[in-house]
């Protein structure tokens, strides 16, 4: 059988990473105590909410352009923990979204937080708002709210693109404490320049485990660390082996087939291997497909679909 995607080792490796995560979730559920290091950006949450409470100004939470996907859900989970603290102190919140499906989920999750805290009357349905799904119109809407309501703390977490700096600088202009995390690595430097605390890379995903200490999340986080370790080992081993293979194992013969003549092996000048000839790369790269052998039959009636222009 011939299939286009033959990079099975890639799939096998991802399945292995999934196994690491699930195994550690199970381990944590079984009562195993697992360690999470301190994340400064998350330690600043209470400080930022306390400041908002003292000043009587709202806490702003924005998940950027995140949709209803793992990034968006993770952002809303972090905002849920922030809202829980805000609900206890009666601090007003503003959650602004650029994605309608995520808005629907966020509204329910935030309402749920207020109910769980026993203060459902403090939930203001207008505190969770869908602004627009257009990038710069969204940036304008968020910046406008920041200036009008002069928020005291801003949490910017999720998929941030070019609008990140507009929002972060607007919040800085009104003196808000800012905690940010972007899954878009090109925006991280902008957020580092503009915000007080920034969670880098997968610290964004570690946040909910750090805040809740829930066994499932802590186990998942340890599984992620195992996965990163596996990738690091693979990169180092592949680099070392690739360097060895490229430098010392040189291809000196090649098969030549000229028209009308029998094929033969001929010596070629010694050279270093190209990157695509190295074993670790070939392991993880899909094989190029050849012609279908045997060919497939056409369905009855399918042949009639050929012809000229209509």
């Amino acid at each position: 059988m011939q299939y286009y995607d033959t990079g099975y080792l890639q799939i096998l490796f991802v399945v292995l990473l999934m196994a690491f995560i699930l195994f550690n979730i199970q381990r944590a559920r079984g009562g195993k105590q697992l360690f999470i290091r301190r994340i400064p950006g998350l330690s600043a949450i209470d400080e930022a909410i306390g400041r908002s409470t003292e000043m009587g100004r709202p806490v702003l939470m924005v998940p950027g352009l995140s949709g209803l996907d793992p990034v968006g859900i993770q952002a809303i989970k972090i905002f849920g923990y922030i809202t829980r603290t805000a609900a206890r102190f009666g601090t007003p919140i503003r959650l602004l979204l650029a994605n309608a499906p995520l808005y629907s989920v966020a509204t329910e999750m935030i309402r749920d937080v207020y109910q769980t805290e026993g203060v459902p009357e403090r939930f203001d349905p207008q505190s969770v708002r869908f602004v627009t799904d257009r990038q710069f119109a969204f940036a304008a809407g968020v910046a406008g709210l920041i200036y009008r309501e002069r928020v005291a703390a801003a949490f910017l977490m999720g998929d941030w693109y070019a609008e990140s700096l507009i929002v972060a600088e607007s919040a800085n202009a009104v003196g808000a404490i800012q905690v940010a995390a972007s899954t878009i690595t090109t925006q991280t430097p902008f957020l580092i320049a503009a915000c007080d605390y920034v969670m880098i890379g997968d610290e964004f995903y570690a946040a909910s485990a750090y805040l809740s200490r829930e066994p499932v999340l802590v186990g998942s986080l340890v599984g992620q660390d195992w996965s990163k370790l596996a990738i690091a080992v693979l990169i180092v081993a592949s680099s070392l082996y690739g360097s060895f293979e490229k430098r010392f194992v040189q291809q000196t013969m090649e098969w030549v087939q000229e028209p009308g003549k029998a094929g033969e092996m001929r010596p070629i000048p010694a050279r270093m291997k190209n990157n695509d000839e190295i074993l670790p790369l070939r392991f993880f790269s899909p094989r190029k497909p050849g012609p279908l052998d045997p060919p497939r039959q056409k369905k009855p009636g399918a042949e009639n679909k050929t012809g000229g222009d209509s």
Partner: protein, 304 residues
């Protein structure tokens, strides 16, 4: 002239010609089925609901997991007969993908209605109660109403082939002109203005970040300075002229290593790219773990 592939492409059970009666019937039918499904879910006992949601989530996720895991048939063509069961299942997965993704899009479109309701409830409430900044809400309501009106007017007139031809031949016709004026003439330009503002924000953010306050910010400042200077043609040419007086390119390894583009490339290739890739690995694994927890319904809500 319509390409043959478009002209002869058969419509599936779920599809209809734009503007046809069947299209409107399908839309109404889908809305009714959607409301019935939601009503049925609401009447289900509370303890059973999570199980239904988990089952639907698992099945939906399973479809895409299988799409990723199952061997993909080479040169898929729906007009051909698969050669074996494995290829047959792959054909089914590939053939049904457009319908499944369209279903997800339809769900998103319905949820957009809730988003619009949120916008209207906030702005119309502020407008009618004459609360603070009610004028901005008025501008919003007028802009939204006119964009919807002219957008749909333009869309409906383009539905038929004659209408589409008329819109191309005479773009100055009122509905097309009005929609273009609002969208291309106003909206796109305002979008561009917001984008342009970033230049000023970069300046103010960079000023704060590059003040020498700590060892880290000093390293950041030095690195950024080299990368920026290495991209500035005038600086590079001036430095080249100076270094060429010491040694021609290729004559001295030390002098060549001091050239700004060489240092910049080294920083970007050996420091920046690996750092970004390391972050992306972490993010990808974090996303994988989150997706796995959602798919298997082991991710709890924030209230637990």
């Amino acid at each position: 002239m319509i390409p043959l592939a478009q002209a002869t492409e058969p419509l599936s059970f779920w599809q209809a010609e734009p503007g046809s009666t069947k299209m409107w019937v399908l839309i109404v039918w889908a809305v009714v089925v959607g409301f019935v499904a939601v009503a049925a879910l609401l009447r289900t006992p509370t303890r059973v609901r999570p199980m239904i949601v988990s089952a639907v989530t698992f099945l939906a996720g399973l479809y895409f997991v299988l799409h990723w895991l199952w061997p993909t048939a080479q040169d898929y063509n729906p007009d051909e007969v698969p050669r074996n069961a494995v290829e047959g299942f792959s054909f089914w997965l590939q053939g049904t993908l457009p319908s499944v993704t369209a279903f997800a899009q339809s769900l998103g479109a319905m949820l957009l209605g809730i988003g619009i309701y949120s916008l209207l409830s906030i702005h119309l409430g502020r407008l009618f109660k004459r609360q603070k900044d009610w004028f901005f809400s008025l501008v919003f309501a007028l802009s939204m109403a006119s964009m919807i009106l002219f957008g749909y007017w333009d869309w409906i007139t383009r539905l038929t082939p004659e209408g589409a031809k008329a819109a191309t031949d005479a773009p100055s016709l009122f509905p097309h002109f009005a929609k273009d004026l609002l969208f291309s003439g106003l909206f796109i330009n305002m979008d561009a203005v917001m984008f342009s503002i970033i230049a000023f924000f970069i300046f103010s953010a960079a000023y704060r970040a590059f003040r020498i306050r700590s060892t880290e910010s000093t390293i950041l400042l030095g690195t950024a300075l080299i990368v920026m200077l290495g991209l500035m043609g005038g600086v590079v040419v001036s430095q080249d002229t100076l270094l060429n007086s010491l040694a021609k390119p290729g004559e001295s390894v030390i002098v060549d290593s001091l050239r700004l583009p060489t240092i910049r490339t080294w920083i970007q290739d050996n420091l920046q790219s690996p750092s970004i890739r390391a972050m992306e690995f972490g993010l990808a694994i974090g996303g994988l773990a989150m997706a796995l927890r959602l798919w298997l319904s082991i991710e709890k809500g924030v209230s637990h």
